[in-house]
């Protein structure tokens, strides 16, 4: 065996080995090539409509490109084909205008039925308002069983996983602290709105996507017929953490839903804040650190250093170290024209007092002040 043939054989084996490992990799991987399995009747209608469209397209594809590739194969100069010189045929041209038009009319019928069904949001059993914030969702159960429940839903995927310092979990970027729970078989109407910029509330398996527009209320609805956990993501670019504000919906049985509603109500009563109480510095700092982590750290960073040029540092900031009234005002009302939101609508007076206390006493900031909820209440006036 000459060195050359040995090299050939060796590289040939390498190629085969590579091909096998590639194939093994491909066959293990989850290559989803269609919609997620729908969990609503409407979702199945959309699925079917899409499939039907794909069949029509396949037929047209084969007809049109069959002609083209046959022509490319048969009518080539290298095969000695002589060019014909025809360049008009009114009958053919009318036919290929009318036939596509008829196909379109036929396809428009199921498409119209489905969209009319999709947009029917009347007579809901439960109405939930979803509010988009930079960058989390807030939910208020407005009508039906569970009315009065209200919570925020934040991404729980740790920064270590996002920064590739820890292995990524199964539901990486699709997990939240508080999930939306709804009962199976009931019509759920979702009202969407936003606090700052346009977001979009979307859950593919439930076949819903509705923009959340600041200052306006839009709606969509779904009736899930399969219990389970359904995950979606914000679907309108809303700034830096657009990719980090998922939506998680649990569809549960009627009994479990009633149980969840009871638990939520008890929890809300137990954790209700009393804005007239006076808190100790330690209570405020501990609470404030948590509020900071879920509401402020995305921009100003856990270190308080911000992101130079984009988000200001709070460590050593002159507003944070200055008179408390000014800082309370900014946290309550935001800074128009920047990403600093008006947290007065999102957080209660105790939370705002706590987070301001925390920022005035964290990192290099050592004011020693404790802000009380009463200060914030005063600032709201």
């Amino acid at each position: 065996m000459t060195p050359k043939t040995r090299w050939f054989r060796k590289s040939g084996l390498t190629v085969i080995a590579l091909a096998f490992s590639l194939y093994a990799g491909l066959s293990q991987a989850a290559y989803e090539v269609n919609f997620q399995t729908p969990a609503t009747q409407l979702g199945r209608d959309v699925y079917d409509l899409h499939m039907w469209m794909m069949y029509v397209i396949t037929v047209v594809f084969i007809a049109v490109f069959g002609m083209m590739f046959y022509s490319i194969f048969a009518h080539r100069k290298s095969r000695g084909h002589k060019a014909a010189q025809f360049h008009d045929n009114v009958a053919v041209e009318i036919a290929w205008t009318i036939i596509p038009l008829l196909i379109l009319v036929v396809m428009a019928i199921p498409a119209t039925k489905t969209i009319l069904k999709m947009r029917d949001t009347t007579n809901p059993d439960i109405t939930i308002k979803a509010t988009g914030y930079q960058w989390k969702w807030g939910y208020d159960y407005l009508k039906g069983e569970g009315a009065g429940i209200s919570f925020k839903s934040n991404l729980t995927t740790p920064q270590d996983q996002i920064r590739n310092k820890a292995p990524k979990g199964e539901n990486y970027l699709l997990e939240v602290d508080n999930v939306v729970v709804v009962p199976i078989g009931k019509k759920i109407r979702i009202l969407t709105t936003a606090n700052d910029v346009i977001h979009s509330w979307a859950v593919p398996a439930l076949a819903v996507k509705q923009d959340a527009i600041p200052g306006f209320v839009r709606d969509t609805s779904f009736r899930a017929d399969r219990e389970g956990v359904y995950r979606g993501q914000c679907s309108e670019l809303c700034g830096k953490d657009h990719g980090f504000m998922p939506i998680v919906v649990h569809v549960v049985s009627a009994g479990k839903y009633t149980q969840w509603v009871d638990d939520q109500k008890k929890l809300m009563a137990a954790t209700a804040d009393d804005p007239t109480k006076t808190y100790t510095a330690e209570e405020m700092k501990a609470r404030g650190e948590k509020v900071y982590a879920t509401n402020c750290a995305a921009c100003h960073q856990a270190t308080g250093k911000g992101i130079p040029g984009t988000f200001p540092a709070l460590d050593g900031d002159k507003t944070v170290l200055g008179p408390k009234e000014a800082q309370i005002n900014i946290v309550l009302n935001g800074r128009p024209g920047t990403a600093m939101a008006n947290f007065g609508k999102q957080l209660n007076d105790v939370e705002i007092a706590a987070v301001i206390t925390y920022t005035r006493n964290a990192w290099g900031n050592k004011t020693g002040e404790t802000i009380q909820p009463a200060d914030v209440t005063a600032g709201r006036k």
Partner: protein, 528 residues
């Protein structure tokens, strides 16, 4: 008279009385010089926008944040879009128009030669503004090329630079459009009636009207953004009585015709290349012209199909769905006409023809996914997912860009006087064709499975297709360097090109020498 003749003879020999060096290019009013500058500018911008695309794809190779921060990622998607649309594709076709329209209609130059110079020289400042906006505090606009408020109200100075750049680019486009319309309507050779106009000129005539109609609309939209940002107006702020969705209506009233501003000249180029290499006249000339006109008209009444999930009334959704589906009819007519042109021809497959075939195949695929997206209920699932990204890249890259390559290879012999390296041109095609599909076909699946667009990081089930897509994108990007090499090689030399290097080509542009002399058709030719 004698003096004039002598002067033009000098002009042919690269002009003794004209400035030389850099000033030649700054002061030139020659349509060929300006056309070349447009083409080079667009290629540079294409590489700049391409590098940005590769940054995006590199970050998306794996889940997690590896190379760039989300803020910067959003700036990249914005600039990639703006630069590719306004800096690369549009100037490329204006470059083709500058070079070829006077040659095709037998005119000595464009109608407004000085304005032509000005409309080109507006472009580099706009390009610099866009690229330099990355270096200001808070960086470039991070809103996507659609610039939706209120997010765009939150941006820093980079947003104002983008707005100013759009104003400048709009002015340039409008001037270019006026120039093209005037040239085509007034300067045709005797005997060239409108219904004997070369198809590329027809597509540009219609495109130029589209530009004049919609660029001021875009300018209005971004000016309203500017006053909302700095002068206390509330066009797009609900708290002040405005509506954020208003911007989307205005933007897409510009944005949808913009799609055809890009696509129509591409159709024009292909309508020259396919007959030339099929050695057979274009099938259905008259119906092609009517199809172009109907596509242009319908493009004004479909804008809200980009906005199916903003919460418009269901009657609006149904109307926009029907109008959108209707576009398939004239577009189908064009595709059928091209195939009928090939039918029973005598085809050869040089690089221009390969790119025209690639265009025809991939643009039609983009048309099919457009049909899927036109159905509102399905679109609600696919809106703002990678399916849409795949769809418009099939139309914009495989459509407009492949057609631009077809045109470049087709007319390079006329421009340079030399034949390009045919083998390398064909390799360029096959690399582009394969890598384009590797990059973008998997994105359909990502979108169907629900991966939102414009996210810097994604959940684990999307990993595999993203990796394939990134590999394809890098391959596609690298393949374009080969195009640069082929063009430079053809400029430096090669086999001499005949006046009419393609035996099936027709048109006045092939009656002048190769390379086309500095001044052509000083005496109008008689058309047939």
């Amino acid at each position: 008279m004698a003096a004039e003749h002598a002067h033009s003879a000098h002009g042919d020999a690269h002009g003794h009385h004209q400035p030389t060096g850099l000033m030649r290019w700054v002061t030139t009013t020659n349509h060929k010089d300006i056309g070349s500058m447009y083409l080079w500018f667009s290629f540079v911008m294409f590489l700049v926008g391409g590098v940005m695309a590769l940054i995006i794809r590199a970050e998306l190779f794996q889940p997690g944040l590896q190379y760039v921060e989300p803020e910067f990622f959003n700036q990249m998607i914005t600039l990639h879009g703006l630069i590719m649309v306004f800096g690369a594709i549009m100037p490329a076709f204006v470059g083709f128009a500058n070079w070829m329209v006077p040659l095709m209609i037998g005119a000595p130059d464009m109608a407004f030669a000085r304005m032509n110079n000005w409309s080109f020289w507006l472009l580099p400042p706009a390009g610099i503004l866009l690229v330099a906006s990355m270096m200001v505090p808070q960086g470039a606009a991070a809103t996507g090329w659609t610039l939706y408020p209120p997010l765009s109200i939150q941006m820093g100075m980079g947003m104002d630079m983008a707005i100013f750049a759009i104003h400048i680019l709009g002015m340039s486009s409008i001037m270019g459009a006026i120039n093209i319309i005037t040239t085509i309507l007034n300067m045709r050779a005797p005997g060239m009636t409108l219904m004997r106009l070369p198809m590329f000129c027809w597509t540009w005539l219609v495109t130029a009207y589209l530009l004049i109609a919609v660029m001021p609309v875009l300018a209005g939209a971004v000016t309203m953004l500017l006053t909302d940002r700095h002068f206390g107006t509330s066009f797009f702020n609900a708290a002040g009585g405005g509506d954020p969705v208003l911007f989307q209506h205005i933007f897409w009233f510009f944005g949808h015709p913009e799609v055809y501003i890009i696509a129509l000249p591409a159709f024009g180029v292909v309508s020259h290349v396919i007959p030339a290499f099929a050695r057979k006249p274009l099938f259905g000339y008259v119906s092609m012209v009517y199809a172009i006109a109907s596509i242009a008209l319908i493009s004004f009444i479909v804008w809200a199909h980009h906005m199916y999930v903003v919460g418009m009334p269901v009657a609006g959704q149904v109307y926009f769905m029907y109008a959108t589906m209707l576009i398939a009819v004239p577009t189908g007519v064009k595709v059928f006409n091209w195939i009928a042109t090939m039918w029973r021809g005598s085809m050869t497959f040089e690089a221009p023809m390969l790119f025209a075939m690639g265009f025809l195949f991939l643009f039609t695929m983009g048309g099919f996914t457009g049909m899927v997206l036109s159905m509102t209920a399905v679109d609600v699932q696919l809106q703002d997912t990678y399916y849409v990204v795949a769809h418009f890249h099939y139309v914009m890259v495989a459509g407009a860009l492949f057609s631009a390559f077809a045109g470049a290879y087709y007319w390079l012999p006329k421009w340079t006087g030399y034949m390009y390296d045919e083998k390398l041109g064909q390799i360029h095609f096959w690399l582009s064709m394969i890598f384009f599909n590797v990059a973008f076909f998997p994105q359909h699946f990502l979108g169907l499975a629900g991966m939102p667009r414009r996210i810097p990081d994604y959940s684990l089930q999307f990993t595999d297709f993203n990796q394939i897509s990134t590999v394809g994108a890098f391959g596609f990007g690298m393949s374009q360097l080969l195009f640069l090499y082929v063009v430079l090689k053809a400029i430096r030399g090669g086999p001499k090109a005949a006046d009419k290097p393609w035996d099936g080509a027709t048109g006045l542009e092939w009656t002048v020498p190769s390379p086309a002399p500095h001044h052509t058709f000083e005496v109008p030719p008689v058309f047939k």
